[in-house]
């Protein structure tokens, strides 16, 4: 990993110097690709291989909300994205001046092709489209590794920082987050046991270490309320009795119905029953409803991680 990163880094430096040498061209956006020298490209290693990416690419399409979030925080505007699930705080990207590139799972290939992008970003939900998209333009897959959530998030931020020559901004932002994470860790470690559940159409699923929400246990140090944590990695259906029996001090709830804007059976209604009322978490009013936009929709990214870590620090007080 470090080896790869140094390589990207050194290539980045190389490319940077090349770009400086060609700064005359770079400042004239009307004349793009043909005049670019080889040094303005960097090799980016990612989940599905290595891709040669133009440095500071002009037209960018992202199918990854986390990358959109990170790039926005770094001051880079993308050009196209799936506009259906744009979170409130990034709502300007739902506007008409941005290309609607399909859905989080399924790209609109024709629209993407017509936009002639210089870089396409895919991740967890859109990783399957990598093959097809890389025929259109240089594509990188920034799929997040749930089992190494924070390091993986960090790598993605650094990679984007290098591609868009925003290394300094990226470093500053990551340092800031590091401080917050330390604070959250203290809070989470002392909070007692916690159980992460998601509600969807009245059903409850439980998540443990190594799952998409597992970093709360693995990296923030929240003690899992289940001994047998390995079993609960994929969100297994559980009964209210299961929650009563694991009896967590804190119940952390992600409301999927709310995540997709469905106002029917919200998590509160699902959990408000005679069985769950018997848990320590419910009786001590220690049920923490996590904001599903960063936790479920965006999943990582500079803005979202900031929000999530803040919510854990404030919530577990």
């Amino acid at each position: 990993m470090t080896h790869a990163r140094t390589r990207i880094f050194s290539l980045g430096i190389l490319a940077l110097s090349g770009a400086l040498a060609l700064s005359g061209c770079a400042s004239a956006p009307a004349e793009p690709a043909p005049t670019k020298a080889a040094a303005t490209e960097i090799d980016v290693e990612h989940v599905q291989g290595t891709t040669e990416v133009p440095l500071n690419p002009e037209t960018v399409i992202t199918f990854d909300m986390a990358s959109l979030d990170t790039l926005d925080a770094l001051g880079v505007k993308v050009d196209g994205l799936p506009q259906q699930n744009v979170p409130e705080y990034l709502s300007e990207y739902a506007g008409e001046e941005y290309l609607n590139a399909g859905t989080l799972f399924e790209p609109d290939y024709e629209a993407v092709n017509a936009a002639e992008p210089d870089l396409i970003i895919v991740a967890n939900r859109s990783a399957a489209a990598y093959e097809e998209l890389s025929k259109i333009a240089p594509t990188i897959d920034l799929t997040l590794d749930w089992e190494n959530y924070l390091p993986s998030f960090r790598t993605n931020v650094e990679t984007l920082g290098e591609i868009f020559e925003k290394q300094d901004e990226a470093t500053t932002a990551l340092e800031e987050i590091d401080g917050k994470i330390e604070e959250a860790k203290e809070q989470a470690t002392d909070a007692g046991t916690g159980l992460i559940v998601m509600t969807n159409a009245g059903e409850i699923t439980a998540y443990g270490s190594g799952s998409r929400f597992g970093w709360l246990h693995d990296e923030l140090g929240l003690t899992p309320a289940i001994d047998d944590v390995d079993a609960a990695t994929h969100g297994d259906p559980v009964s209210p009795e299961f929650i009563l029996e694991t009896n967590p001090d804190w119940l952390l709830v992600i409301d999927r119905d709310a995540a997709i804007g469905e106002s029917g059976s919200t998590a509160r209604q699902v959990l408000d029953n005679e069985v769950i009322a018997g848990t320590t978490a419910w009786q001590n009013d220690q049920v923490l409803y996590l904001d599903s936009v960063p936790f479920y929709v965006v999943m990582s990214g500079l803005g979202a991680v900031n929000q999530m870590v803040d919510q854990i620090t404030d919530g577990l007080k």
């Binding site: 159409a201 009245g202 297994d236 259906p237 009795e241 009563l244 469905e262």
Partner: protein
């Protein structure tokens, strides 16, 4: 004389067997009641007293779940039997005629346009859609000249596929795929007191079906035949379809689709006990309840303390049995 005594004996034996089956279902229900994550056993209930945690869980969580399972098993199996009588084909049931898919489409429509509607309202909309879907199935059937045994359920499965595709398309566009997924797989993990009571209505419909069973058999023989016997064809058909649709909608709203249940249970009963509908109905009810209880126990025990949804367990066992019934001896089906 001898003939008569043999018949009496056979009736006795039959009653005896039915009682034994009834006892088996009660035992299964008891077993189901005492399986779960918390410690609820006759002993812990005695120790804790009537206000103890075990006794409370029994009332709030265990009994409702077991009751919901028994009610669903009985209702879906008998609904399957009614469909088979109405269409005169042994391979139909709500999940092979587009009924379940139509109900799910109805539920999707409610979720999109009136998500705050109470459960009963959702059930009504789902039932109306189920009724329309089942009616469409019957209309298509009437226009098909060759009505071979296998063709009828195939038409139903295709119709279900088309309706399912429409539902999936809108669910996909509106990001409701996972929600749709929970409707399409029956799951009893969330059943508690206050969240299953609609199923009693399903049982009520089933009792009506039980009383009217003979009429459905007659309607299956055709309009002319029915009218000749002095029955109102349209009315009986409408009654049957309404029962099927309402029961399917109730089960989907409370737990989700349980595939093949209404198909395999009546077929097994027919193989074992013959085709006298009035006599086989108690068997269908009994076997339906027992089968659902067994499948739910499997789903709860295999990955304890997590659960495998009932719909998946029934689907796996049911599709194997379905294939077996299809390949067995086609001549047995009418």
């Amino acid at each position: 004389m001898r003939q008569k005594s043999r018949r009496t004996w056979s009736r006795h034996r039959s009653a005896l067997l039915l009682t034994a089956a009834g006892i088996a279902v009660v035992l299964l229900a008891a077993l189901s009641t005492f399986i779960g994550v918390s410690d609820v056993s006759p002993l812990s209930i005695l120790e804790g007293g009537p206000d103890g945690k075990a006794a409370q869980l029994l009332v709030v969580s265990r009994l409702p779940r077991t009751l919901a399972l028994v009610l669903t098993g009985i209702a879906m199996s008998i609904v399957g039997l009614i469909m088979q009588m109405l269409v005169r084909n042994k391979f139909v049931e709500p999940s092979t005629t587009g009924t379940a898919e139509s109900a799910a489409l109805g539920l999707l429509v409610v979720t999109i346009f009136a998500p705050t509607l109470p459960l009963f309202g959702k059930m009504v909309v789902a039932a109306v859609f189920a009724l329309a879907g089942t009616g469409l199935f019957l209309l298509i059937l009437r226009r098909i000249p060759v009505r071979s045994i296998v063709l009828v359920p195939l038409v139903g499965i295709m119709l279900g596929g088309v309706i399912g595709a429409v539902t999936t398309f809108f669910a996909y566009r509106l990001d409701l795929l996972q929600t749709l997924g929970t409707w399409m797989t029956g799951d009893f993990s969330g059943i508690l007191r206050g969240r299953y009571e609609l199923l009693w209505l399903a049982l009520g419909m089933t009792v009506i079906a039980w009383i009217a069973a003979d009429r459905f058999t007659v309607v299956g023989l055709g309009q002319e035949f029915t009218t000749n016997l002095g029955l109102h064809y349209g009315r009986v058909l409408a009654l049957g379809l309404t029962i099927v649709s309402v029961v399917t909608a109730i089960v989907i709203v409370t737990a989700g689709v349980i595939p093949f249940l209404g198909l395999i249970v009546p077929n097994i009963v027919s193989i074992a006990r013959g085709d006298n509908v009035r006599r086989s109905i108690p068997w269908v009810a009994m076997l339906g309840a027992g089968f659902v209880l067994v499948c739910d126990i499997i789903g709860r025990v295999l990955r304890f303390p997590y659960e495998i949804p009932l719909g998946i367990v029934v689907g796996v066992i049911g599709s194997v049995l379905f294939l077996y019934l299809l390949l067995r001896r086609p001549s047995r089906a009418h």
